[in-house]
Point group: C2
Chain length 442, copies 2
């Protein structure tokens, strides 16, 4: 969004921890910070500087199945922890769509969510302790392996601070027991409004599915062509719903969800018959962003939040904004918690298109905030949304955040230009001290 | 625990917000801060000073049933919010045993828990936004009514900060849908070990009951004499277990729990037949502290946390410590999350007994920490455990917490002598500036 800042950017220097023993072609290709899968630019060196890359600190240090805890280094890939916990009947609940490549350190920095956030919360709900390196080199620990730590909730403060307060070098996470039974339902609708109303109704019935994802017609068609997951090409929207728990519970919840779908004119509700069909449905969902590459040379994924009850209006408004700017906007998102991911399809080689895409996107995010929502659900602020923060925060709010920032990182050594708009954060300090080294992390 | 500090204490001055219109005998009896039900002394003016009493700021400002939110003033009594939300099929999940008298402001200050913490978490998991008054008089807002607020998690930081960072003047909370069905089970055991092993087994079976409470023989006998809840007087321990959700789910979970109880030699497992019987069982649990007054002139309620898997050892150790110091120690606690409440029964008129009771208590808390647990689960640090904090935190840890403290309350105006041991926190500053006014809140 901040195109002028890009041209000023100096090439960053990368540091690897631990340093590579020998430089194989593979290692020199390692992406910055964690895995670099973030969607808000948290791991980019906005004003140049020094990158600290944690991809090699990728050891799972311990798994304690009895107390359902694991201790990991920040470079551990999210899904690798679930694989390691599997023999104990456990898994790591936060599941970003990038979970097979993103790292837990990055999840901590951005407080990442995923499709199952609806039932299990975001990363902060699964982190109990951290080892940190402060800008002055001091190594400290916050949190507790058991229960909530007494005193200030510093663990909660550092999770989601996007590398602006400290470097995270060790993470203690909660592991969750794998449910006895899982049912995945695909509900097919002839109208987007009906699908959206169903989501409102399901939660009003006091059912909390483990996941409740929506794909609109644009998205489901291109995903179907690519994955062959069985999404009918002529439908207007599908809901992918998952319920988990004891077998009896799951059967009851699946029946209640089916009833809600039928009450809103679902064309069909299909329950995945086996694990293979379940995985196919999820493959369709998790690969949707990639599949959209078939529709346009590029796309811009937004991350707005609206009150769940305003879902039908919000989708109509997004369609209207798309029409006005001349874009197709695909929608694939976490419907259950009102976390929208409108995807503006555009051609970046056309400078006019690029600028209109950014304008349309800003208008959508502004609408989310006005509707009583927020400008990010799970991707973080990074550099992408730093300049939009004043939509949500006043000068007094920034002052409050700055007090916390300056308590740990007063000289703006860590990840300047993130979270805070340049004018309210470390931007001015940066201008005064252009030559000093900076460290950027996720 | 800090008896010498008490004698030095100056009588505090109380301020009421809003100021009383006329002084009725009732209003001049209002307890300090919120309702003054806290168990760690967070609302006491440890070094004298000025008390700000929020008991009159007791209005529920709004209830938004669709988005499951309420906005309340800090003096609203916890259970009054649940009563107000009931017509919408909603309730406020945190349920301290004092819920019919404690205030939500106090719950926020101490990050209070309750029997249903096991399934629904402590207060911080149900607060989404706060209005705050900083020591310099500035009014600020943190958090968001929808989802997680972007940027630093300041709401999480202020919840549980025990009035040491800011005054909380408005609270936005999450309301939860009332479950379709509830089953309450009473499992009766002839041995404490069997009851403790059952708790470990229930969670190992991936069942998360909504509540899992344990009462030992001492407690259940005195409760039975008082409440007549049907706890057999000759049993060694009872578990009070509750499962909630859809009717089908609840039936399945109750069956699985019964199986676990029987596998550990439960004498009997009884399911409450109706709401009246359910409420009677809970009345026994929630009035247990009061009933213990029949056994000894006073008692000291501890609040240690241990890893759940160490429950059987911990109970044996507590019994052994009691024997050694010559005390009966009753146990009634949140077994499911390893949050112990050993209750040392003693006579405070006997100075030797008082001192031995404090020593026995400190030994129990030290054991909890050594076992990998923590020194508070839900009652907060307050002044009670401030001097025990070094068991868990190093000087570097205190320095980290002080950075946060000083970012908001650098002059130690708010609630000095809480959370931090006197030597590490505001104690020294207080000694230097004895005459200045202080504000104590919960």
């Amino acid at each position: 969004m901040n195109t002028t800042a890009r041209s000023k950017k100096a090439a960053p220097i990368w540091l690897f921890f631990p340093p590579p023993q020998k430089r194989s072609p593979k290692s020199s290709n390692l992406p910055p910070s964690g895995a670099g899968t973030g969607l808000s630019g948290g791991a980019l060196a906005r004003t140049g500087g020094l990158m600290i890359v944690f991809a090699r600190m990728n050891r799972i240090l311990s798994i304690d199945p009895e107390n359902q805890r694991a201790v990991v280094q920040p470079g551990v890939v999210n899904f690798d922890l679930t694989l390691a916990a599997e023999p104990h009947g456990l898994y790591f609940a936060p599941d970003p769509s990038s979970q097979k490549s993103c790292t837990i350190g990055g999840n901590v920095a951005e407080n990442a969510g995923g499709p199952h956030t609806l039932a299990y919360g975001v990363t902060t709900n699964h982190v109990t302790a951290l080892e940190l390196v402060l800008p002055d080199g001091e190594i400290v620990r916050v949190g507790s392996t058991q229960g909530d730590a007494p005193g200030y909730d510093l663990t909660g403060l550092f999770v989601g601070s996007e590398g602006t307060l400290a470097l995270v070098t060790e993470i203690t996470v909660r592991l969750s027991p794998k449910p006895e039974a899982v049912k995945t339902l695909l509900a097919i609708f002839d109208s987007v409004d009906d699908a959206a109303e169903t989501v409102v109704d399901v939660t009003a019935r006091a059912i909390i599915p483990a996941a409740c994802e929506m794909l609109d017609g644009w998205t489901l068609r291109v995903v179907e062509d690519f994955v062959h997951a069985g999404f009918p090409r002529d439908s207007a929207a599908v809901l992918l719903l998952e319920v988990e728990g004891l077998a009896e519970a799951v059967a009851g919840q699946a029946a209640a969800i089916t009833e809600a779908c039928n009450a809103h004119r679902a064309r069909k509700v299909r329950v995945a018959r086996d694990n293979a069909e379940r995985e196919l449905l999820w493959k369709g969902r998790k690969n949707a962003f990639g599949a959209l590459g078939r529709l346009a040379p590029s796309n811009y994924v937004l991350d707005g939040v609206i009150p769940r009850t305003k879902l039908p209006q919000a989708l109509r408004r997004i369609r209207e904004i798309g029409h006005r700017y001349g874009f197709d906007i695909a929608n694939i998102f976490h419907a259950g918690d009102g976390n929208l991911h409108p995807i503006v399809l555009y051609d970046p080689r056309d400078k006019g298109q690029f600028e209109r895409a950014m304008q349309a996107s800003a208008e959508i995010i502004r609408y989310c905030v006005e509707a009583g929502g927020a400008l990010t659900g799970e991707h973080g602020i990074g550099m992408e949304k730093a300049e939009l923060m004043p939509l949500l925060f006043s000068d007094a709010d920034f002052d409050l955040m700055r007090r916390v920032h300056d308590a740990f990182n007063p000289a703006c050594l860590l990840n300047p230009g993130k979270i805070f708009p340049l004018s309210k954060g470390c931007g001015e300090i940066r201008l005064r001290a252009k030559s000093s080294a900076h460290v950027s992390v996720a």
